[in-house]
């Protein structure tokens, strides 16, 4: 048994997470300046949806691109985890349940048009629709906490072989490299959000920086609100707030700030479904143990369950577009929002999550 000193370093401190959140917020506004869609410096849901599109898992022509940010996030996390001896290959905690929950989280996010990170970035860009979504997100987290207090668990993980831990980073990076070497295999949007791209090396570097910071600080949009409610712990929420403040400042400086409900980039004002879509995201993410950003980071740390979760997001995104479930952005002549099928999918999502939560909740006697 070796004694460890219990000193806290910068990254695990409140200051560390505020700095990380601020950097994420600023980089996001810069990515928009460099070509990414509005208020979409980072959006894990949108970017995985674009990857599902470029690999032709769905054929929505406007959202197909192999987003380099995703590769940067995974590699950044993996490198940081390996160098700090935190790379730990593990898995086996209800993988298929996670896959299904993840697919519904993705559908909920695409009904709203953004993962929790983009929701925060949209607020920082002045998009008030995202404030409504935040209320739904928080409500979903509260439902998840209700089940956590009832003893919800997807049971423990087990240590697996190193190869399993590296499989996801290798596969996703391999596909990305393939998209550069043999672009003919892949679809790339010529118009729409998928065609709006920051230069590839900048996008990759941005992903790497955020991946490193998120791995070190455990930045997570869900855990911020969850831990405040459960443990009166503000730490992770400070990162969440820092992103909003930094995005606000960055957008004001770069002239990208626009306050209001209408005329927002890739957004709609169908509030009920923004609320319910993000309720699914908040609830599902509590069951999964972290937001989509955090799952990507954990997949980079060798967590095979998180890797399955990310694949669940990608498949959910494919369904969202193949079945016409995703919310449409508002335009001059349409209010946008989800189709009747999208609304149905959100309702089914809520029911499925309630069932998953209930059947996996049992307070252990001790």
């Amino acid at each position: 048994m070796t004694k460890n000193s219990n000193k806290s370093n910068l990254f695990s401190s409140a200051t560390g997470i505020i700095i990380a959140g601020a950097v994420v917020g600023l980089i996001s506004t810069l990515l928009v300046k460099m070509g990414n869609p509005g208020n979409m410096g980072f959006c894990i849901a949108c970017f995985l949806r674009d990857i599902a599109g470029t690999t032709k898992l769905h054929t929505a022509a406007v959202v197909q691109y192999f987003r380099p940010e995703i590769i940067g996030l995974v590699i950044g996390s993996m490198v940081m985890a390996v160098t700090s001896k935190e790379f730990s290959p593990k898995g086996g905690s209800a993988p298929f349940t996670r896959f299904v929950v993840a697919a519904f989280v993705m559908i909920g996010a695409l009904v709203f048009l953004g993962c929790p990170l983009r929701m925060v970035l949209r607020i920082g860009g002045g998009d008030l629709n995202a404030v409504i979504a935040l209320l739904g997100f928080a409500a979903g987290i509260l439902v998840g906490i209700f089940f956590l207090n009832k003893g919800f668990t997807l049971k423990r993980t087990y240590t697996v072989n190193k190869a399993e831990g590296f499989a996801f980073p290798v596969v996703i990076t391999g596909l990305f490299v393939l998209s550069l070497i043999v672009p003919a295999l892949f679809a790339v949007s010529e118009k729409g959000p998928g065609s709006m791209q920051a230069p590839i090396l900048i996008a990759l570097a941005a992903g790497l920086i955020v991946g490193v910071l998120a791995q070190k600080t455990r930045l997570c949009m869900v855990a911020g609100i969850r831990d405040l409610v459960l443990f009166k712990d503000w730490k992770l929420l400070l990162g969440f707030i820092a992103i909003i403040v930094a995005a606000l400042v960055g957008n004001l400086v770069l002239g990208q700030f626009k306050l209001g409900f209408s005329g927002q980039p890739i957004a709609h004002s169908v509030h009920l479904w923004s609320f319910l879509g993000m309720l699914v995201v908040g609830f599902g993410s509590v069951l999964l143990g972290g937001c989509p950003l955090r799952q990507l980071i954990m997949a980079g740390e060798g967590n095979a369950d998180s890797a399955v979760t990310v694949v669940g997001y990608i498949v959910g995104a494919a369904f969202a577009h193949n079945f016409g479930l995703a919310g449409a952005a508002a335009s001059a002549d349409a209010i946008g929002g989800p189709s009747v099928y999208g609304k149905g999918a959100v309702i089914i999502g809520i029911i499925v999550l309630l069932i998953v939560a209930a059947v996996n909740s049992k307070k252990a006697k001790n």
Binding site: M1, T2, K3, N4, N6, S12, E86, S88, K90, S93, L148, N149, T153, K155, R156, T157, Y158, T159, R218, A223, R226, D227, L230, F231, K232, D233, K235, G289, N366
Partner: protein, 68 residues
């Protein structure tokens, strides 16, 4: 001394289990976790609640000794 085995679990469960255990008002606890995030979170939770925590590593797991 009460032992909480939270190995293989990821947050918030190790913290929730620690929270439940601390409710029994004993003087000393031992919490086993297997990842750095859980180690940090349990440590922060116990410290915020007025306990002292010392961490040791054993066979790749972390043993957190929590005392009043």
């Amino acid at each position: 001394m009460k032992t909480v085995d939270a190995r293989g679990l990821s947050c918030p469960q190790p913290v929730l289990m620690t929270k439940d255990a601390l409710a029994s008002k004993e003087n000393a606890y031992e919490v086993l976790v297997d990842n750095s995030t859980a180690k940090e979170n349990v440590t922060r939770f116990a410290t915020n609640n007025g306990y002292k925590v010392s961490v040791a590593e054993k066979d790749g797991d972390f043993v957190l000794s929590i005392t009043k």
